[in-house]
Symmetry: C2
Subunit: 534 residues, 2 copies
């Protein structure tokens, strides 16, 4: 696979983007409403205009086989993740913080050398997978006391170690990106099918470190359900879990690592559970007069033990705004999208039986067929990050936050979060809105995903974003939800860990950190600092 | 529910047992083979003949509302778990170790008072649920340095806190026993359906502390999948996780507690995921000429995404021995037992479709219908512990050990463990055998459950048992398996934690222990001691 150049200040690879005629069409649709026009477009700052300070340290690591580089492009590429705020900073050149250098290790020996040097020289190491964190997880902004910061890009540690096709297991280096993992498995009649929106750019290691959940997680489970075994290189040695499908041998060691945000060491290898690629599917869209009726259908479907690959519900606001943006006529109401995959042609009768049961629950809840919900989601899903870059250049605020709550608290959570966000949007912007969708379902609850947009004064874009996101997070906690369903906490949400988990849980985390990374060189600023007791 | 008297030295409640005529029939069947007869029966020691030393301490806890007792019966009841070795000791009165007293707290306030007193007076606390540990998890044998040992029986903390029927969640105090939990849920049209062999006696808290997996875990998941939220009273305060269906907010705090063996504190409450009780089922038995062909069928069924409530495979030795014991004619070969439950009459078509797919895989692997596999399993499953008491009185050694491995390692593991066990049995006993079954299946592997029996010299019953169990555990590790699939590690397997997980994982556990129980009063001897750095 040729090494395409990743955009240092936006989504995807150089040359990719939304075609101009589609931008023009979009602009025409939103012009009267958002009061923007082509003249509001401000192109992003070119790399040459970025003020990148010289590296504070000159990193030399004896015997290091990979690349150590400090070019402006590499330092800018690794300067931030891909949150709305990150992109505003990258595209305007404000408030950025750059790693002193970027390392591309070839193997674990290289990582060991990095760890040794970093501990000796008090250099902070930022594990970097796809760099798509939306919570400041790969930001080289570290607490005081370090001589320098090294971003450690694991892109080259992306090889398949071995395949065990009968057990549908594969041992793989976690620097592998989504599309490459799928490609490697495809040759063996297998697939992984973990599809976060960042799929194209993000890596297995990033998914594990952030406890990700892909688009098809209702069928295949969150990343923690897909990992059989993990190998982590910590400053205090190797932690490796056994390759067993299940165990009762003390607490589950794997789950200390999943969600550890790179704070405990470098996750280097994982044995993951593969699946079979689908050969066909049964998919449909349905309209509900009320969001709550759609919720009822989702709940019944998942509690009946059906596991559709996709089960999504868009609220009436998202439907209305989509209609306005696309110009396609969409009747008002909430839209449900369901897709059941068929992996084995001989099992088509099972998919049919499941489909029949799902339809029963949809109909009972008052759903009526609405095929328009289905057609374009996939393209839109993976295109969304490209649009976001463009919105920023137009001075628009657009972001999402998500939580998870039991079914019995879902409606109250939606109402509360919506109200709070709308109140705050009013303070910042003459236009704006909040849309809600259900993206993941569980027998006991669901994930609620909120999109908010506004047009605050251009100079207040980041401040408004932080304020709105903070408003939503506060409401999540108040409603009994979690601060993040599938994005991790990074640096941005780190201060809320205490509110979510309490001081005893944070104390435990600090001690685990102390056991694995007593000098605190691993991704300092995320999760916790090591306990002072070492 | 009337408080029946639990047997202090055997399974179940006083008055329960295998009827005499069935014992006689069994004896007739095994007499020529195991060379035992009625005259070999030695009745267990009566309570009055036990040498129970006087309590070393007189525990007084100001304000304690529950019961504090030091009667011989209560001290004997709480003297050991229910492993083969425990029962040999209890029935012969040898090598026992008694708690100085037994506490029955009424609520968390009582537990708090216990924790305070115990820390002040250096008393070890042994959390006691159903007392059915088979790995020494509730044994009051603690390292030196304690003034006394208190067994803390949580039987009275067994109330339902609240039900959330739409989300199928229930918050419950974890001292509740299996049958009581089912009864409480039944009234609301719900069920829990976690059926370990100890179901009748064991508690939700015990299942959580030992990372249990019930008989129907293939359909409903292991206990860690059934727990939405946990509340733990530790010597350093309350640890409580949020009631959310999923989260990416750092590592999963719940999974530090599941499998913690009472070493971190008292698990007091849990929110668990209920299911609907089945209204019907589709079940069948199938014979395979070879165990390996049966394995192939299991693997295909679970990898096809079918989730039968029961999917078990007995090897040819277990089938032959069952035939010999029951006198029923069983043709040679391995037996597969599958049961698909139907929760909703309207979903019967789905169960039929799943059944058809399962049959396809069974037939392809060479299985032929054999209904005798199915009829009696349930009675036999829950009766087995009563038989074991009887075996001991006849001087027979009978126990089980289990592991889990990927599918690709299953056959080698079965062969290796069998060979090693048979070799060792030869050293101890003129008769004996090893049987294997697959009890739990996962897409990437399965749990292998080994039953071994022998007739060593009567005085060497425990020594032979320890030797044989140790032989199997060693072989598990050598074959890449885990030392326990669903029983926890307790005191008996504690020394193998390092071999299974490595020193870094053990170091982490010590530090977590240090954070929650720095004085090490919680179930000392299991899992780890607190790190000296506190």
């Amino acid at each position: 696979m040729p090494d395409r150049l990743r955009k240092w200040n936006g989504w995807g690879y150089e040359g990719e983007g939304i075609p101009a005629e589609r931008v023009a069409r979009w602009l025409k649709a939103v012009e009267p409403w958002l009061r923007i026009s082509l003249k509001d477009h401000q192109p992003p700052l070119p790399l040459e205009s970025l003020r990148i300070p010289p590296p504070r340290i000159s990193v030399e690591i004896p015997g290091f086989k990979g690349d150590l580089t400090a070019t402006p492009y590499e330092r800018a590429l690794h300067a931030a993740g891909r949150s709305f705020g990150d992109l505003v900073r990258l595209r305007t050149g404000q408030d950025l913080c750059f790693p002193d250098a970027v390392a591309y290790p070839e193997d674990e020996l290289d990582l060991l050398r990095l760890l040794e040097s970093a501990e000796r020289q008090s250099i902070a190491l930022i594990p970097y997978g796809g760099g798509t964190s939306v919570v400041g997880g790969v930001e080289p902004a570290v607490p005081p006391g370090f001589q320098g910061v090294l971003s450690v890009d694991l892109a080259r540690m992306n090889r398949i170690r071995y395949l065990d096709p009968s057990s549908r297991r594969v041992r793989v280096q976690v620097g592998i990106r989504g599309p490459d993992l799928e490609e490697a498995l495809r040759a063996h009649g297998l697939a992984f099918r973990h599809y976060p929106q960042s799929f194209q750019m993000s890596t297995l290691g990033g998914w594990i470190a952030t406890r990700a959940a892909g688009h098809f997680a209702t069928a295949w489970g969150r990343i923690e359900h897909r990992v059989e075994s993990l190998r982590v290189l910590t400053p205090r040695g190797v932690l490796e879990t056994r390759e067993v499908p299940a165990s009762a041998s003390g607490p589950d060691v794997r789950s200390w690592i999943v969600g550890s945000e790179g704070a405990f060491g470098f996750i280097t290898e994982a044995v993951v559970r593969a699946v079979r690629p689908p050969v066909a599917k049964r998919a449909g869209g349905f309209r509900f007069p009320e969001f709550s009726a759609g919720l009822e259908a989702l709940r019944r479907i998942v509690q009946a033990g059906l596991a559709p690959a996709v089960l999504r519900l868009l609220d009436e606001y998202e439907v209305a705004i989509s209609a306005a943006l696309t110009g396609r006529p969409l009747e008002p109401g909430a839209l449900l999208h369901i897709s059941l995959e068929i992996e084995d042609p001989e099992d088509a009768h099972r998919a049919e039986a499941n489909w029949r049961s799902a339809l029963r629950w949809i109909e009972r809840a008052g759903g009526i067929p609405a095929s328009e919900a289905v057609e374009t989601w996939k393209q839109a899903y993976f295109e969304q990050p490209y649009w976001r870059d463009l919105m920023i250049d137009f001075g628009l605020l657009l972001d999402t936050v998500e939580t998870a709550v039991p079914w019995s608290r879902a409606e109250n959570t939606v109402r509360t979060v919506r109200e709070r966000l709308l109140q705050r949007i009013d303070r910042w912007s003459p236009v704006g809105g909040v849309m809600t969708r259900v993206t993941h379902v569980y027998p006991d609850g669901c994930a609620l995903y909120f999109t908010f947009f506004a047009r605050p004064p251009r100079e207040a874009l980041r401040e408004a974003w932080q304020d709105l996101r903070g408003t939503a997070l506060e409401a999540f906690l108040e409603c009994g939800g979690t601060i993040t369903h599938h994005h991790g906490t990074g640096r941005d949400l780190q201060s809320l860990l205490m509110a979510e988990h309490g001081s005893l849980a944070v104390d435990i985390l600090q001690r685990v950190k102390g056991a694995l990374d007593p000098s605190g060189i691993m991704n300092p600023g995320v999760l916790v600092a090591p306990t002072p007791h070492g």
